[in-house]
């Protein structure tokens, strides 16, 4: 998929097969104009993401299946900082994944944080997070991007940070533990449908049907 820009609207130019639904976290839309935007695809009871594919219960609505995939990332990100007090953890991003993480962690934050979870995958945001996190601290990468440009020297290397990559259920094959608040949270944060490729200004995640 590629992201274009018009004067007033962000426009996703999608080339999806009929019956395929693409889900995009709003944090993934920061990519430069013309760049690729990651997407979670749902088709014929299967999810594919980052080159991984998994079959889901055919009775499960696609939105819920996709949301569970995001939940898995969020849970793994939280597990990566399980030994850090929640108030010492900062979360970067405004998207659906970031929301799921914050929901688990509860209120935060202190400055500088001992750990930062990034869901944006934006190189500037990550570099900034590396600068902000305490020496010997932790940076959790939960954002979706193939590659980014990143200088590891000044902070990760010199200040002894730990950078932890968190995957998702498609790559682990392990279904997430669904917390009790999840259904209510999903109801309140349904994906916003993208019509004719135009991305609405509001919404933490988006759905586009081919």
């Amino acid at each position: 998929m590629s992201l274009g820009r018009s004067e007033e609207h962000r426009t996703l130019e999608l080339g999806l097969d009929p019956g395929t639904i693409a889900y995009v976290d709003s944090d993934w839309l920061h990519m430069a104009a013309g760049g690729l935007v990651p997407a979670l695809l749902c088709q014929n009871s299967s999810l594919s993401w980052d080159g991984f594919r998994a079959t889901v219960d055919s009775t499960m609505p696609p939105d819920r299946a996709a949301a569970l995939a995001f939940l898995d990332v969020a849970q793994e990100a939280v597990r990566a900082v399980a030994d850090v007090p929640a108030e010492q953890i900062d979360v970067l991003g405004d998207g659906f994944t970031a929301g799921l993480i914050r929901k688990q962690l509860g209120a935060n934050r202190v400055t500088p944080p001992l750990a930062i979870i990034d869901t944006t995958a934006h190189p500037i945001a990550i570099a900034d997070a590396a600068r902000r996190v305490r020496p010997l601290g932790r940076l959790v990468l939960a954002g979706a991007a193939e590659t980014i440009q990143l200088d590891l020297y000044p902070d990760v290397h010199v200040r002894g940070l730990r950078v932890v990559g968190v995957g998702h259920l498609l790559s682990s094959g392990i279904a997430p533990q669904v917390p009790s608040w999840f259904d209510e949270y999903l109801d309140a944060n349904e994906p916003v449908a993208i019509a004719r490729g135009e991305v609405p200004g509001l919404g933490s995640w988006f759905r586009f049907a081919g």
Partner: protein, 769 residues
């Protein structure tokens, strides 16, 4: 821009020194000396201690490494002074700093170095467990022969560990903390990417710590031997083994290259859930940080710069001491060996040469400075607290060299043997000098003189108590004449020399050998058949500056010879060419090419061509000349520009003119240089070298030995020739020497005439007798 008092003082010092005529380089040197002088005394006063004298490696400007004298305070409270025997060069870090690579920028002057070992020479108050004479490893020590450091920077070398190997302690700390952060379980396989010092030592420490089989991934196989000697089970290269690397699935990967773009490969080698330790310092941004792979494999990347120990210190951990102690313990127990990782031994005085090699030689693993190589006076001692600062910045530039005393034996007649009896043929201008030379030489005697102008022969004979021969035959018939010294118009060299040789006399020819190469070769062939000795008078070889320059070159002061520059500027009156040199003998032969062979090149520069060959041993392979007759008084060139290419690839240029207004006094410049040094032979001997050529010459500073002393070079030439003949040795100036110079001259003239390059060797081979 000036910041703070120090900045303002710094700027003011630049302004004031500039007003005194200091160049930028001298300003830098003077300010460095002034500041160090002040700083060392201030530090000593704070401690209530005296000063020690030492030497240190200093990068005074980009691309210049010097071994300079420094002063350090004796150990104060909580400090220890250590006389260093070995300091280890961090090839990766110091190469990056030397090249000013990203994340390795430094200011100047800079003192590199980080790890050393030596013997304690002074212990400050409050330091326990250390005594004078103890062998210690020192972390964070700049390359120097003597350091005063906080006691926490030293670690006793345990019994069983060598002092030499202990010098690598800082690297042991760096790699040790990296391996610790890898949290390798017993028997767990480890993959190390990079086969430099860091990678190799990290692998050895991992193994010593109980890891399982180790794999090292490198760019090439050049360091496989080091890896194998450290018990690496598998050695893979990026070039040949990409598929195997992708299938390693290593649970622990230690990145030790510092190459920011190698990270995708590191990630490829890692298995799911692996830990990647970033031990090498990345030199710039990773362009393709493999985010999705790191996430999919759920990898953990751990930054492991040695600076992280400081952060651990903030939470009360002394991991620096722990790592150093652990490393030295492993050395003592022989569980780790680093002797093969220490690299070549470098004389600190040749640091400049070494760092340039470090840039070129990417395969160089490491190296170490051997401070015991320094003369005792440079290595250490008590400094004079009251000495004034040396603010004149002598030696920084060619125009302001440090004056040194010559140490070459300047008695030119030492070992003179025999008594050569000489007859002079040709008693004109230069013969006067030759006759005097013969008179001065203790083992030569002028017996007879001949010249078609009888009054010239009688004049010289009278002056030196010799006979004036009425004819050439009369002189050649004398059985008491051993050798004939011919100083006549160039075109007459051959016929007269042949006559003398056939008369059984040794032949000395005033330079050049002849007016053309063919004539010279014909002459040499006849003399050889006659079985007598032939030599050409190239006396400038015996200038003290030339002798000393040759000695320095022979000791390696130039490194690889790479170039020469000759300038000869003079203003000769038209009478020189058309009337005569001094007025003693009236002649116009110098002004015609048929008789003289040429102008300023053959007349004057032939000496310098011989000197270049004599000093450097280099042969001219190719000549390209442009020349002109500027004044038109004669038909020989009075201006020539000659471009030379030497057989080893060195290049040279020669610019000569005898028609330069305002140069009646004449001026000669002869410069030669190489990969590691520069020598000015004329007008006075000056040398700059990065090599330890002789004890009196310090590396990386301009030094002068002054103008040549008053050695009678013609007397020296005659005396040495006489000794050679007496002993049956070949003469200093051989026929081959004379022909080589003659061939260069011929090639230059042919080139100038034809407008194309000419090879002297081809001319020599092409001319047949």
């Amino acid at each position: 821009m000036a910041t703070g008092l120090k900045g303002i003082l710094n700027d003011q010092a630049s302004v004031q020194l500039g007003r005194l005529g200091y160049s930028d380089a001298r300003v830098r040197a003077a300010k460095r000396e002034g500041w160090w002088w002040f700083e060392s005394r201030a530090r000593a006063l704070r401690r209530g201690k005296g000063l020690l004298r030492a030497s240190a490696i200093v990068w005074t400007e980009p691309g210049r490494a010097e071994c300079l004298p420094i002063e350090v305070p004796r150990a104060g409270r909580g400090e220890v002074s250590v006389e260093i025997s070995t300091s280890v060069i961090s090839a990766g870090t110091e190469r990056a700093q030397y090249l000013r690579l990203p994340n390795a920028l430094i200011g100047y002057p800079h003192r590199p170095g980080y790890s050393a070992s030596g013997v304690v020479v002074d212990v400050g108050v409050g330091v326990g467990g250390v005594s004078v004479g103890d062998e210690v490893a020192v972390v964070g020590a700049a390359h120097a022969s003597l350091v005063t450091v906080p006691s926490r920077a030293i670690f006793p070398v345990p019994f069983g560990a060598s002092l030499h190997e202990a010098a690598i302690v800082q690297l042991g700390v760096i790699c040790g903390q990296g391996v610790r952060r890898a949290e390798i379980g017993p028997g767990v396989e480890v993959c190390v990417v990079g086969a430099g010092m860091i990678g190799l030592l990290a692998q050895r420490l991992a193994l010593a710590g109980g890891s399982g089989a180790a794999t090292i991934i490198a760019r090439s196989r050049s360091k496989e031997t080091f890896a194998r000697s450290g018990d690496t089970q598998r050695f893979l290269t990026i070039e040949d083994d990409l598929e195997e690397i992708g299938g390693l699935s290593s649970p622990i990967v230690i990145e030790a290259t510092g190459d920011p773009d190698v990270l995708p490969l590191v990630v490829a080698a890692a298995g799911v859930g692996a830990r990647i330790v970033l031990l090498g310092s990345p030199r710039g941004a990773t362009r393709h940080f493999p985010m999705s792979q790191i996430r999919a494999k759920r990898l953990e990347l751990v930054g492991a710069h040695v600076e992280t120990l400081r952060y651990e210190e903030l939470v009360g951990l002394d991991t620096n001491r722990d790592e150093a102690t652990r490393f030295l313990g492993l050395l003592a127990e022989h569980r780790v060996s680093v002797e093969d990782l220490m690299g070549p031994r470098i004389d600190p005085r040749e640091a400049d040469v070494f760092y340039r090699r470090l840039v070129r030689d990417r395969g160089l693993l490491s190296a170490h400075f051997d401070w015991t190589a320094l003369p005792a006076k440079q290595r250490g001692g008590t400094a004079n607290f009251l000495r004034p600062p040396a603010l004149r910045a002598q030696g920084v530039e060619i125009g302001r060299p440090v004056r040194l005393r010559r140490n070459v034996d300047e008695n030119p007649f030492a070992g003179a043997a025999g008594m050569l009896r000489i007859g002079l043929v040709g008693c004109g201008d230069i013969a006067v000098h030759n006759a005097r030379g013969i008179a001065v030489a203790p083992n030569a005697r002028l017996l007879a003189c001949y010249d078609p102008a009888a009054e010239l022969a009688e004049d010289l004979a009278r002056a030196h108590g010799a006979d004036a021969s009425p004819t050439l035959e009369h002189l050649l018939d004398r059985s008491d004449v051993d050798a004939v010294f011919i100083a006549v118009p160039h075109h007459l060299h051959e016929p007269l020399a042949v006559e003398a040789a056939l008369a059984g006399k040794h032949v000395i020819v005033e330079k050049p050998l002849a007016h053309t190469l063919k004539s010279a070769i014909d002459l040499a062939a006849v003399v050889e058949r006659a079985g007598v000795t032939l030599s050409v008078c190239f006396p400038h070889r015996y200038e003290s500056s030339v002798q000393h320059a040759r000695s320095l070159v022979a000791q390696g002061a130039l490194g690889e010879f790479s170039g020469t520059l000759v300038n000869f500027f003079s203003e000769k009156p038209p009478s020189y060419w058309l009337g005569g040199f001094s007025g003693r003998a009236m002649s116009s032969w110098r002004g015609t090419r048929e008789q003289s062979g040429g102008g300023v090149l053959i007349m004057n520069l032939s000496h310098l061509l011989d000197v270049i060959r004599y000093v450097t041993g280099a042969e001219v392979e190719q000549c390209a000349a442009s020349m002109r007759v500027a004044d038109g008084a004669a038909d020989v060139e009075d201006t020539i520009s000659l471009s030379l290419r030497y057989a080893n690839g060195a290049v040279g240029t020669l610019m000569a003119s005898s028609a330069l207004r305002g140069h009646r006094g004449g001026k000669t410049e002869l410069h030669m240089w190489g990969s590691d040094g520069y020598i000015v032979v004329e007008p006075e001997l000056r040398v700059f070298t990065s090599r330890v050529a002789e004890d009196t010459v310090r590396t990386t500073q301009w030094q002068s030995f002054g103008r040549s002393t008053g050695v009678d070079i013609r007397a020296t030439y005659v005396s040495r020739l006489a000794s050679a003949l007496e002993r049956g040795d070949p003469p200093d100036v051989s026929v081959a020497d004379a022909l080589a110079v003659q061939a260069i001259i011929e090639a230059a003239y042919q080139s100038g005439d034809a407008g194309e390059t000419v090879r002297p060797a081809e001319l020599l081979a092409g001319v047949t007798t």
